[in-house]
Symmetry: C2
Subunit: 251 residues, 2 copies
């Protein structure tokens, strides 16, 4: 298979996004897990101890090339801006109305997305606390690893290796998954811009009456827009709708 390096062509592949990782050691282990199965697009959102982190190198064990190429972002929104389908690795959360899939199902979906020219990414939360609801609201699909119900204790690098492993193993299976639009899903940047536009118009209209309910209501709207699997064209249409609704009668 083609990976990268001198004279090699880098294939399109899913991005692996670690959100607010705490220990450099775990970032190194994740890089090693990725490279074992041919993945090299590592993105870090606000790593706790800054970057580069000297603790990451030793545990990467030869996968330093992945660390060297890692990109750093301040926010999840920036990290996923160029992606078009994003998975949140977490346990199912009843407050987050998202489709849930196993690592094997996600692997097949991602092969299908890449074959269609889309750009998938898989997000992993911080070691102890996991992903916040705001992080999850930005995902299309929840990725859950089926596990011993009496003892579920996967660490960050183990979750990364299972996802990377399934992606590599299923590369020759025929992906059944096809995105809803042939003409291209919206990028997450387009979608987040739409969400923020809508939220600012709703703010100006006094829609969020109670400050305490603003966050849950905002997440409800974001989940709803997220789940619609919008094309770029549809996002443009909705931007026009929001703009129009935002006008005061006298405008």
């Amino acid at each position: 298979m083609e990976l990268f390096g001198a004279g090699r062509i880098k294939m399109a592949q899913p991005a692996i996004i670690l959100i607010r990782p705490q220990l450099g050691e775990n970032i190194g282990k994740a890089a090693r897990a990725m490279l074992n199965f041919g993945l090299t697009d590592l993105r870090l959102v606000a790593p706790r101890d800054g970057w580069p982190n000297p603790d990451a190198g030793p545990t990467a064990a030869g996968a330093g090339v992945v660390l060297d190429k890692a990109r750093i972002f301040s926010t999840v929104e920036e990290a996923i801006a160029d992606c078009t389908h994003v998975y949140a690795t977490t346990v199912r959360n009843r407050d987050m109305p998202k489709p849930v899939a196993t690592p094997h199902e996600v692997a097949l979906q991602m092969h299908g997305l890449i074959a269609a020219g889309e750009r998938p990414a898989v997000m992993f939360g911080p070691e102890r606390s996991g992903m916040t609801n705001d992080d999850i609201a930005l995902a299309d699909t929840v990725l859950t690893v089926p596990i011993n119900p009496d003892y579920g204790s996967l660490n960050l690098a183990q979750a990364v290796i299972l996802v990377s492993y399934e992606y590599f193993q299923s590369k020759n299976e025929t992906p059944a998954y096809q995105p809803a639009h042939d003409d291209g899903l919206s990028s997450k940047k387009e979608l987040v811009d739409l969400m923020e536009h809508l939220e600012s118009v709703l703010d100006s209209k006094g829609f969020f009456r109670s400050p305490g309910r603003r966050d849950p209501q905002r997440r409800t709207l974001r989940n709803l827009l997220q789940n619609a699997e919008l094309s770029s064209q549809e996002v443009m249409t909705l931007r026009g709708v929001v703009k129009s609704l935002g006008r005061n009668g006298a405008d």
Copy 2:
């Protein structure tokens, strides 16, 4: 699913055998990986730093029950004595004529073996050196994880988690694999006893002419007997054959 503990029935399940593991920390991580996917039969062959090892507890992260129940053996032969089908986790080795299978294929085979009342086990070698040819010669099948050909660097706990994960994930798939004998495969103890009997008779007959060639020749014979997937009855028959051939004409 049924695991173990108060009021619970322990299901038949594959044994996980760590051969001469070096670091207690890695034994703890392996125990955690196993319990995440419902496996609890951990066996250690000659752990370098003895047992119990205080370094294992912290990395087991709540999987101490697996460490507490771990059984210790001096030799691989003893650790697999009650098993009837054994997998060696290693890269393919041209000197070892064994069928090779992926973790997913092995998982399906093991579900099939357990449904037939057989007792499978998966062996893992020491961290740095891996399994010796003598260890591998005792296995029925080589388990190889398909991996990035430009960077294969799975550590012990990662190999254990991939095998455990596949076993757990495939528990509801229909196993196609059926052992060659309905009336029960020989236990590894019966098989090792046959091998040692044959080797002692061949020694007494002067079969192994050159001391330097004794080990390779012995492995060739062990692989051949191993690959025959013998039933208990067939082992008994061969014991009689060896005994008979071992007699001198004048006996």
